[in-house]
Amino acid sequence: MNVFVFVKRVPDTESKIKINRDAKSVVEEGLSFVLNPYDEYALEEALRLREAKGGRVTVFCAGGEECLTVLRKCLAMGADEAVLLKDAAGETYDGLRTARILAKALQAKYPGFDLLLFGKQGMGADNAQVPSMTAELLGLPQANVVTKLQIEGQAGSAVREIEGGEERVEFSLPAVVSAQKGLNEPRYETLRGIMAAKKIQIPVVPVEELGLAPAELAPGLEITDLAMPPERKAGRILTGAPEEAARELARLLRAEAKIL
């Protein structure tokens, strides 16, 4: 079974975000970047499928050469191959542009796959668009925000989260699946894996060479502003015995905050 995993390099969730003076982008200096946490679940699932059914796991990342570190991490975790789709555009917050790059790369250069795995969203842009868009561009079925996945022959079954419950999606392969926390427990890379990963060559494919029209590579968003949320004012501390504090809180929620 040939599984492709699509990953993104994102700022660590503990990062404090600062905004550039242009008010359109974040300050990257001083941020620590990691493999998108949801992508770890996707990669782990791919590795488990390979262990159960054989085949290969190939990881793709679109971005600048700084993304090679996250691809190396994926190789160290156990992926067989990694490909950098080299793109100098930076964060465009445009899922369609990324999906076009991925779909075109597969059509033009990497056609043989059974399953495309993604994290349910890239932390930061938080769009949750690329898996469904890639599925649509390639005419494949999709299962997003998946917490359980089963593959039998050419048929897949996935449990995905919905409000207040779950639903089970059935689909045929090839297909797109996006991973939610809970799908599995991702492994750590081993020292041996890290050493082995260093020997693997990572092909670099410039996105300009994929045959996309310039209009398809142009960002679809015209950004007007990027701003910090209005700071919340520290409120009131209610003192006294727990019973008194609880009574005062209930009173304030109705009388002052006008809720409940």
């Binding site: 469904s132 045929s172 968003l221 009173r251 809720i259």
Partner: protein, 325 residues
Amino acid sequence: MILVYIEARKGKVKKAALEALSEARRRAEELKTDVGAALLGSGLEAAAPEAFARGAHKVFLLEGDALGAYSAQAQAMALEELVKEIKPEAVFFSATAQGKDLAPRLAARLGASLASDCTRLEIKDGKIEYTRPVFAGKAFLSFRLKSRPQLASLRPNVFPLLDTGRKEGEVVKKTAAVKPDEVKGRVAEILEGKGGALDVTEAEVIFSGGRGMKAPENFALLEELSGVVPRSAVGASRSAVDSGWIDHHHQVGQTGKTVSPNVYFAFGISGAIQHLAGMSSSKVIVAVNKDPEAPIFKSADYGIVGDLFQVIPPLKDELKKLLAE
């Protein structure tokens, strides 16, 4: 026209869809255009009056053999047919589990970029400016969309419901051409959560617990609080979830869900930046924590420094009294 996709489950329209419809109507009036509501599947005529009440001028009912059990692929094909025919300027979804699944599929089909999970829409120079949280709410991005039609999904619980006072209007019935054998994936089964509990993203009040809850069985205290307040749900911090005390679908924060309830209660949650990111757009935040230095107090409107196990029982009684009045 602004066309709004109306999500229905078991024939019942989702509140979040009506919020999106209400917002579409408010913006459409500024843009001097009208609003259409699209309902896909059979037996949805009964939902039309509600759509008119919440802002639709026209209701489109799309039926077809492929529109039974939900399939993003089939619904995107059916919506594309409708969009190509009526040529709306914009298509709105609600950013529910289904909206987030379907909207990008239609967007790619139409070759349009998508504004996901918007929390504010404004009209500037006759164009829609979209604002949405990025980095789970640590920052807000505003932008315009270059492609036409413009596609956007709107976050639930953010946009107020409108009442037009109207229950009637033009209903257009159509049959979608998409055939079942073109569809390669669809929902086979819906597995309801226990007791049909409300999801944190839909709740108006959230009682969340963190490391200070100390043990999994203590989350029953939050369940009891939730039992007292209608439209409420139980949430959790990442450390509570990672300790295995409660299921991940309760998790609020950057690796969980982003919520904006009317009141967010944080019990024994210190307030790590990745947690604050997921709940800081709550209208009112209440923190109960033993540690007076906990960062959560900097974001809380009301704070109680104390033992949550001593605060919860009287709080439950007070809330019960208050709601009975």
